[in-house]
């Protein structure tokens, strides 16, 4: 298991509110832009997709790779970040 990044801890540490999609761990400028183009402009929209996939990390990673062109590490980081956020705040 990879150690969590500062970005991960920042995101998981508080309610996501209106944070942009790029505040998600694993989602940088480029991936963020691709997601925004598909309507996923806010972190909570991506959370919605995560929830639609029943919080299934594997499914979500797959979707993120397809939708944004993320690699496995980035997708895994994002899904872990959303899962831990859900564990804390949902």
């Amino acid at each position: 298991m990879s150690t969590t990044s500062q970005k991960h801890r920042d995101f998981v540490g508080e309610p996501m509110g209106d944070k942009s999609v790029t505040s998600l761990s694993g989602i940088g400028e480029i991936l963020g832009k691709k997601l925004e183009q598909q309507g996923f402009d806010k972190a909570y929209v991506v959370l919605g997709q995560f929830l639609l996939l029943k919080k299934d990390s594997e499914m979500f990673s797959e979707w993120l790779k397809d939708a944004s062109g993320a690699n496995s590490r980035q997708a895994g980081s994002c899904s872990q970040c959303l899962r831990e956020w859900c564990d804390a705040f949902l």
């Binding site: 997709q49 929830l51 639609l52 029943k54 299934d56 499914m59 797959e62 397809d66």
Partner: protein, 161 residues
């Protein structure tokens, strides 16, 4: 029919058949599920539907066994009964008997499939035990009778003496 043309419900059903846990199929999730399903179908095109089939076949088999067993056997037995008794008695009285007898036979025959062998063995052993006990009791009674006679014979002469 390609997956893309299937309705959401059909897709959902297929996903369940292939054991893929899935949420609602909406615009944002459909593509992913289509992909997953395609992959699953490629990996196991025959394997997954077959367990269902065998499961059903087993159920059907049981049912057919029962139906196969009663109709021919019952008819043969009944016709025999009718032929034998028909000579002595009128047919009208036989008819209710025909309907009361078969159910008993059916239950015996269906029971034979699963439980009967064990039951028969245990029944036999019980019978053997009972027979043995009866034999022992008769023997004991005979021995006791003989003993009593002997004792009486011994007492009688002593009484006389």
């Amino acid at each position: 029919m390609p997956l893309r043309e299937k309705s959401d419900e059909e897709l959902s059903k297929l996903l369940s058949e292939y054991g893929i846990t899935h949420g609602p199929i909406v615009d944002s999730t459909r593509k992913l599920y289509e992909k997953k399903l395609e992959k699953a179908m490629e990996d196991a095109p025959v394997e997954v539907p077959s367990p269902d089939k065998t499961f059903y076949r087993e159920e059907v088999e049981e049912v057919t066994y029962i139906t196969y067993h009663h109709s021919p056997v019952r008819q043969e037995v009944n016709s025999d009964v009718v032929r034998r008794r028909g000579n002595a008695e009128p047919d009208k009285e036989e008819e209710p008997l025909q309907y009361t007898e078969p159910p008993v036979q059916i239950s015996k025959r269906t029971a034979n499939h699963s439980a009967a062998p064990g039951m028969k063995e245990s029944g036999c052993s019980v019978w053997k035990g009972v027979r043995l006990l009866l034999l022992l009791a008769v023997l004991a009674a005979a021995v006791y009778y003989a003993y009593c006679r002997v004792v009486n014979n011994e007492e009688d002469p002593s009484g006389i003496q």
